[in-house]
């Protein structure tokens, strides 16, 4: 089982970012993806998370081809992939409390009834205290907000997790903590993880195998 992109081409206007890229994230593996700023790593991440419709190409999740993108993808497929972005402040609704940010995926998929009961299991590992959960984004640091974003990404227990420069904005301690949380989740659930970073030292430490841009005939472990 795997999250697979087939022959993905993406153009922004006349600018071609991805040209017939094949890419696979197998389950039970952490794949690192390294490359310079602006090479198309994040675009590939958004395509794999079904958040961006490519100019051509397809994505399959666990063997099922996705019939659409964004809200046109069926919920059962869409929720199997979660993503954590680089800048937590741009990835949350500034009006919501941290608690509601983390539980939003549960409410959105009809699992809101026992949401509060599941909260401690989500926030404990990332180190968020009850007092922090009552705050809004402007009242917490980048590191604390990114912890909430990771808890949100894991709320629906995705089979695949994409971490797009998840720790680039963070200090060394928060980085080490969040990576440990992702590793623990990956090992416990057998999920597939795609770790995108421009820090080769980090990927050496984190990933089972690291691919470096440009992607050509991707070989996997």
């Amino acid at each position: 089982m795997a999250l697979t992109a087939h022959q993905i081409t993406v153009r922004y206007g006349r600018h071609q970012v991805l040209d017939r890229v094949d890419f696979t994230v197998p389950e039970a593996t952490t794949i690192g993806l390294a490359g310079p700023s602006g090479c198309g790593k994040s675009t590939l991440a958004r395509v794999l998370a079904l958040l961006h419709k490519p100019s051509s190409g397809t994505v399959s999740i666990g063997g099922h081809h996705t019939p659409g993108w964004r809200h046109r993808a069926p919920r059962q497929l869409r929720t199997r992939v979660a993503i954590v972005f680089q800048q937590p402040r741009l990835a949350v609704d500034p009006r919501l409390r941290l608690r509601d940010i983390i539980l939003e995926p549960l409410h959105a998929t009809g699992l809101g009834a026992d949401a509060s009961a599941r909260l401690p299991a989500l926030t404990g590992p990332v180190g968020l205290t009850a007092e922090l959960l009552d705050r809004r984004p402007h009242e917490v640091s980048d590191g604390q907000l990114q912890r909430a974003c990771l808890a949100r990404a894991l709320a629906l227990q995705p089979r695949y997790l994409i971490c797009d420069e998840m720790t680039t904005m963070l200090d060394a301690s928060t980085q080490a903590h969040l990576v440990a949380v992702v590793q623990e989740y990956q090992q416990r659930t057998g999920a597939g993880v795609l770790a995108i970073s421009h820090d080769p030292v980090l990927l050496d430490r984190w990933a089972d195998a690291t691919l470096t841009w440009p992607l050509t005939g991707v070989a996997l472990p």
Partner: protein
């Protein structure tokens, strides 16, 4: 450039923000000096007060800030000289700011040349000389003249950083204040940006580098000051700080690096509105004992200064 007598002296600087229901201690009793030709890095977790310190030095704090202590730049008292002096003779002329996000710092609808010429104009260059001045500062920031006619969105992250640095150099300041200049850049660009700062340092500029990136600090800094919960807890020559840290917090922060033990610190830093009376690191420290209920003073250990009752290796 002869900057040999130039120095920034910060003495017991404290900044407090009074809020309706709390007082935030953002900077407490910070003391250091930075001569021209040296690079001092200020490192620490987000929210430890690094950026507030930088804003205090430039007189850019909001109105509810209370400042105590001293900050002398050459012979000018930055804290009491007033907005007029800051605007006319300090900002841009003695202190240049290398910004956090160059893409957001540059005006998106104007070319780099237009912005550089405008800056040199405001700083007093006569019109016929502006074009040459723009080229000179671009050159000094290693920005090739062919990029001057470009708009910010046409520049890569590294080139935008150089354009922003050229703007910072336009008033011939000797001190450069670089506040998280590498946020969001990839490792290659981080290294390149640090090497640019090293070159400027070697040309006689003093550089205060504020960053959470320890690897970046190590690449360029002569000395490193570690800030925790509004105070400097250790300040030492770079090699000593990285090879034999004395403060347990410094050691723990270094241990979190992916090329070291990759082990996070337990817990969170304390809220700046609720700092304990004693050592603020004690709740997360493995060497805590009853002495730590008393605030440790910064005292010499080895070639540096450490604020700890039980420093490592000493």
């Amino acid at each position: 450039m002869s900057h040999s007598f130039r120095v920034l002296r910060v003495d017991q600087l404290s900044v407090r923000f009074r809020l309706p229901d709390a007082t935030v201690a953002a900077v407490t009793d910070v003391t250091f000096s930075l001569p021209a030709g040296e690079c001092l890095a200020l490192v620490g977790e987000s929210g430890c007060g690094k950026s507030v310190l930088a804003s205090a030095l430039l007189g850019l704090l909001p109105g509810n800030a209370e400042i105590r202590g001293g900050a002398l730049l050459d012979e000018v008292d930055l804290l009491s000289c007033g907005e007029k002096v800051l605007a006319r003779s300090i900002r841009g002329r003695r202190v240049g700011l290398v910004p956090q996000s160059p893409a957001a710092h540059l005006t998106p609808v104007r070319t780099v040349r237009a912005q550089l010429e405008e800056t040199t104009h405001v700083l007093g260059t006569a019109r016929p000389d502006r074009r040459a001045a723009a080229r000179r500062y671009a050159d000094r920031a290693h920005l090739d003249a062919s990029h001057l006619n470009r708009y910010p969105h046409q520049l890569s992250g590294g080139l935008a950083q150089r354009a922003a640095t050229a703007l910072a150099l336009a008033g011939e300041p000797w001190l450069l204040l670089a506040d998280e200049p590498t946020t969001g850049l990839d490792r290659r660009l981080v290294d390149a940006t640090m090497d640019e700062l090293a070159r400027l340092r070697d040309n006689g500029h003093g550089i205060l580098l504020i960053t959470h990136d320890l690897a970046a600090a190590r690449r360029v800094a002569d000395r490193v000051a570690v800030m925790y919960a509004s105070r400097i807890v250790e300040i030492a020559p770079t090699a000593q700080l990285f090879d034999s840290p004395r403060h347990p917090y410094t050691a723990a922060l270094l241990d979190a690096l992916p090329d070291r033990r990759f082990r996070p610190l337990p817990g969170f830093p304390p809220e700046l509105s609720r700092l304990p009376d004693g050592c603020a690191f004690a709740p997360r420290c493995s060497r805590t004992d009853p002495d730590c209920a008393l605030l440790p003073k910064l005292a010499p250990v080895g070639d540096g200064d450490v604020a700890c009752h039980h420093p490592l290796g000493g």
